[in-house]
């Protein structure tokens, strides 16, 4: 499976990754090689096979509906690149 440059750009857009033209070229080449290598899976007939979507066999425990202390705002926002008051600030969202 060879990826086109357009496909690389589309995937980069979905993933929100800015790629330089050099990176795009390299990505196109390397991803194509990897996708070619994984073609081997097509040899297998898996029509009747259930996918393994979960690795754990154990049933997860649930929480009781009780309120636990939240983080103090200063801790919640301590790593924020930008903030206003106790809100995170981002470049203006245009709808």
């Amino acid at each position: 499976m060879k990826l086109t440059r357009e496909q690389v750009r589309h995937v980069a857009t979905l993933a929100h990754l800015a790629l330089s033209p050099e990176e795009e070229a390299k990505m196109q080449e390397q991803l194509s090689a990897i996708l070619e290598a994984v073609e081997t899976l097509r040899e297998l007939d898996t029509a009747a096979v259930e996918p393994t979507s979960h690795a754990a066999s154990a049933v997860g425990g649930w929480r009781e509906d009780t309120v636990q202390p939240s983080l103090p705002a200063e801790k919640a926002l301590a790593n924020a690149p930008a903030r206003v008051g106790t809100s995170f600030a981002v470049p203006r969202i245009l709808e």
Partner: protein, 488 residues
Amino acid sequence: MKLTDLSLLELGRRLAAGEASSVEAVQACLERIRRLDGRVKAFLLVDEKGALAQAEAADARRRSGTPKGPLDGVPVALKDLFCTEGLATTAGSRILEGFVPPFDATVVQLLKAAGLPILGKLNMDEFAMGSSTENSAYFPSANPWDLTRSPGGSSGGSAAAVSARFAFGALGTDTGGSIRQPAALTGTVGLKPTYGRVSRYGVVAFASSLDQVGPLARTVGDAAALLQVLAVHDARDSTSSREVAPDYLRHLDAGVDGLRLGMPREYFEVEGLDPEVRSAVEAAAAAYQKLGATLVPISLPHTKYALATYYLVAPAEASSNLARYDGVRYGLRVAAPGLREMYAQTRGRGFGPEAKRRIMLGTYALSAGYYDAYYLKAQKVRTLIRQDFAQAWQKVDAILAPTAPTTAFKLGEKVGDPLAMYANDIFTLPCSLAGLPGMSLPCGFSRAGLPIGLQLLGKPFDEATVLRVGRAFEKAHDFVRVPPVGGA
């Protein structure tokens, strides 16, 4: 014998007997790190003050007869993938540079509760993606056995630190071999427990259905003792097992007499398996026979599909797990006038080439029109790989295999060729995809003096047998050695 050369269990015994103090042990480690880590570059961050304070507290508890446990005061170190409250956690990435978590990972809490001082945070491939530490955004680590070579990865810093005697043990994570492969390449013991055995809470996620925390240690006994601290159900991780862990040290020396050890044909037929590695593993198999085990030839027919399966499943999960690094709440932000530009620039600059490659691959494998052909297909083949093992367990108690196809490779050797790098994991991936426990332990040295790893795989939640089988070999053929660390 130098204090730093003791095993973790032996140091624990001496601390209990009052023959050594935790402060002495921590200082000895710090001194060695100061002297030698400039060459090895195992640590991203050394927390001298924190470790010494914890050591002093441990000594006080020992003096007052109230130790927290047998390992109270034994210093260890952490792969920089574990969140540590108040201590920077980078996951080896620029995008998390300067991130200081407001909480401890559950395993960090468990180590603290058991009294183990934490020396610092260890280098790794960015977001645990890699097999050499060369994908660290900061610097590659070196193999203490040959500083021009890689210690493996992604827990390369952890393996190097344990091998170089900077710490008495370390925590790593293993998604496709990231504990076992570096252990093999550095002559240390690395144990990946069963998926669900150890909590993942607070462990920066790479591929959630595969990630598992485990110890890197100098001996099998040390690995067992560390696992004992970690193997606790955690209500904060929905995939954490409720199965109560057995006493891993109790039957450690029970030997292998009467055990059936599987030799999977496919593992020994792999092209690219270094003849020296092959003969060392076969010699280990012969040794087991002498110790009373029965070798059983088995087949794991879908082994050759593991690599392709893994390189679809893991990147798919990673592409989603790494979406949270968006410059909004923590970590790097590259200023840009608009939101979309900020996202793309932050992530474009914050992630290294391997992380970007996997995000791209995973995004593609999940995207409309390709999901069935790639992601779903891989999850189905994963079922077949699990079934291979399920059938094997009808015949054998544990499986014996090489850990890595070669000994430590040169830094820079494979860095430009992702597929060659991925091929390092062929022997460790099937176990990860099946969620099984696996361990690597030293089983010899190449003519060039590089360590070779033997891999043991066990049934789900049967770490005890894996450890016992490993211990039997280690007892008969001790390959625990202190590396030269560049002739120091």
